[in-house]
Amino acid sequence: MTTLIIIDQPPYGNWAGREGLDMAFSLAAFDQPVALLFTGAGVNWLRQGQQAELIAQKNVDRNLSAATVFGVDQLLADSTSLTRFGLAPVDLLAGVETVRFEPALLSSYSHVVCP
């Protein structure tokens, strides 16, 4: 059982992505293979230099950087969405792999969750 969790909503304005991240953490806690895919406006999670303390929130990039420590297998980002939001691979959090969002990408996961 391999799960892909898709984060397609930008951080801070709503909690959907944070809830997706918690789902990934809990699968990792039970040693279940899990990957996170950032696509659409969700790629803004990966932007460096976030200062969320200015809006009294936790920085999602820092929260996300715990994912590999906990055993989340892959952090993926859709290349078209990165281009759209002016993000080059060098601008991203370390360890993020660039992919293309397409049916073939999803087909290798037995569960796909889009919270």
Binding site: D8, T39, G40, A41, E102, P103, L106, C114
Partner: protein, 90 residues
């Protein structure tokens, strides 16, 4: 492996396009809630295998122009979930 895609967002929601980008020719798409409005959206091309919850269509007045052939009940929705090897709710 056939996938059932359950889509409940209106055609304007970014996830609507995301879902369509994930559907293959073999996959089944089920439109629920506001997504049934896609049947009335003249700018959209939907995949070949598409159904929509009849209650959601009727509730929104989507009854004319041969649309009723898309309508299914919750019993059919259950059948689709049994037939698919994977279900993605968008």
């Amino acid at each position: 492996m056939t996938t059932l895609h359950i889509l409940n967002k209106s055609p304007d929601h970014p996830r609507f396009a995301l879902c369509l980008a994930a559907v293959t020719g073999e996959d089944q798409l089920l439109l629920t809630e506001n997504a049934v409005l896609a049947l009335a959206d003249t700018t959209l091309t939907l995949p070949a295998r598409v159904a929509a919850l009849a209650a959601d269509m009727d509730a929104r007045g989507l009854t004319g122009n041969g649309l009723s052939r898309y309508g299914v009940g919750f019993d059919h929705m259950v059948r689709l979930t049994t037939q698919a090897s994977r279900i993605i709710s968008w």
